[in-house]
Each structure stands twice: as C-alpha cells, then as structure tokens.
Subunit: 191 residues, 2 copies
C-alpha cells in the first residue's frame, strides 16, 4: 500500500497511538488503513462416498485438482458463497450443507471454510474456471496433484471421517514454520 | 474508496471483464481493488456455568455488555485472536477452546466466530476497552443491555445448550431484511 484510499496522499507504516501493531496511516488525512485476513469458502460435494474435485483452468495452480471454493464476497453469507462457488466451478447444485472444517493459513492471511454437502445429480460439468470435474473414490484422490495445502488437509480429514461416518467440526491451522494444532467442536487433539 | 492504493490515481466503480460484480478499478494502473468481509473472533468464557461478560468502555455501544471479541489480524490464527482479545478485554486466560458458533452479518460484511472456553481463575478484571467484567448466571444476563445482535444470538443459543450440556457447532446468519437460517454441524434446522 502506497497511497490513501480516501484522499490520495502518501501513507506511512507506523504504530498508531493506543495500537500495538504497524498500520498504513495517511500522511494527509490521518486515516488508519487496517488490513485483515480474507475468507475462502467452499464445499466437499459428496455422492455415494465419492468426492467431486475440479481441475483448475486458471492460475495459480492451473491443472491441479481442488475442491470448489472461492473468496467470500461482501454482502453474502458463507453458505451462499459455498453454493455459488460450487455452481460456478462444477455447474452442480449441492444440498444439505454442514459446516465441516475451518483452516487457518496465517502466513498468507487466509481462512478457509468448507461445508460437506450432498451432490444430488450427475449433471455436473466443468465451469469456466475448471478444465474438468470428476467424482473420486477416496482411494483414487490424486494426492500429489492437489492445488492447495488447505484442500490437501481437508481431504485427508474427510477421507478418515468417511470411514467412521462421523464428521466433527474442526478448526486447524497450517503454518510452514510451526507445528499446527487442531481444535475440535468435540475435543481438542494435538497433532 | 476514492483513490488507488498502488499509484494514487482516481478509482471508478465498474464490473471488470470476466467478473459479475462492481469493483473499484484504478483509472491509472487498472488495479482491481477487491473488498471482502472481515472476521471478528472471540470467546464465551465459562466458569461453573456462569458466563463472563464485559461492559464496553469504547464506542460503538459504550456501556453495553458484550463477549470478549475483536478483529482477526493478519498473521494470526483464529484461536490466537480469541485468546488475545479475551486477555485484552478481561485480563483473563482461557483454556480448552472449542469452536461454538459462526454468525454471518452480510449487511455489514462481518463474520463472527466464537469459541466456548474454560475460565480457570477468578483473576479477571476490566481491560482498557472494558468498564467492568462480571460473571453472569444465564438467568441474569442483561438481554436488553447487550451491545451487538451477534452476541445476543450467540448467548441465546449458548444458554439453551448449557441446559442440555450439548454444544453442536452452528453457522447462523442475521439479516434484518430476511428470515435467517441455521446450519448445524449435526443437522440443519430452519428458524
């Protein structure tokens, strides 16, 4: 950030009075510009214990497999976003959304939220951002060809949960520099 | 938003090519500025079925009661944020964090996330942003003196769950113009 969104003057990184971390502050109008993590919301579309994945048609990670997900937009709820992204990327409608996992990625200021959801029909097909969409048996998931670590971890938990048919809501974090932790709606488990 | 953060030129609200909603686009360098919802993260600190609330010392809603919570910062995880805000506002340390509820407020572009947590000691006291902190029996919660609708709804669910000692993770939305809905990790319930 170089310029103030309000008045166009230059900004300087400084710790405002009463604050404890650096913010971009306007040299002209003194507006403090806060920057916060963004949410990515999506679904795990499931039909007969198979999972619908999308091969990305866009960068980053073009050609890699992922779950349908995207940025939460202003004015929409997380469930609206989950349905919209699933529709955009797989042309599929999903039902019976259940909160499944929240993945913290503090090193890139992102928070992923995935719902598991029921895929009712076989009328899915690649949306404009996908090269291909395909149902995978857990045993056939292309683990080395997944686009994002958040998707990798989500699918890892989900495939384990499928065996037990138990899906406790979890909050996990991925941090390349530290050992992560798992906070479960039922109990806390150390990794 | 009036000016581009990158080059300082004026921005115009327009729908970029391939997009479906208006964004602020720079008239100079063509940077597209995306705006997304922000997360507010906090705890429900509990000791012997009593809930710790804070009376706000700052605007908005100075003098009203709330749960300890605040903006998720870049570089921190949701659990770090929940602990930090609880410490800042009540001087208390909480343990055994469990994801409890996510509250969507699409009309103000906010997503609240609350953990229930165990308050281990009576050494809480008002932090700089609180006038007073106090343990409340569910029967004594000052419902008409709560600061925010997200806190009101969270406490309403929590007091009901306390009676049953069951705490399913829920995602709810609050929208003054529409009937809300509840998405539960266990089952979906219509309001």
């Amino acid at each position: 950030m170089n310029f103030c969104t309000q008045c166009g003057a230059k900004v300087t990184l400084q710790i405002p009075e009463g604050d404890d971390r650096p913010r971009f502050v306007c040299n002209g109008c003194a507006t403090i510009h806060y920057e916060n993590p963004k949410m990515v919301v999506g679904t795990i579309p499931v039909m007969e214990n198979k999972i619908l994945l999308c091969k990305r048609a866009i960068e980053p990670r073009r050609g890699k497999w992922t779950l349908p997900a995207g940025w939460l937009e202003n004015g929409e709820t997380v469930t609206t976003c989950a349905r919209r992204e699933t529709k955009e990327e797989t042309c599929a409608q999903v039902e019976e959304l259940r909160p499944y996992i929240l993945v913290d990625l503090p090193f890139i200021n992102q928070v992923y939220l995935f719902f598991r959801a029921r895929l009712l029909h076989h009328d899915f097909q690649a949306g404009t951002e996908s090269l291909e969409v395909k149902l995978f048996n857990p045993a056939d998931i292309p683990w080395d060809e997944l686009a994002f670590s958040a998707v990798h971890e989500t699918l890892k938990f989900f495939c384990e949960d499928l065996k037990k048919a138990e899906f406790p809501f979890r909050i996990i974090d991925i941090n390349p520099h530290e050992k992560g932790s798992i906070f479960c709606a039922e109990k806390r488990i150390s990794k």
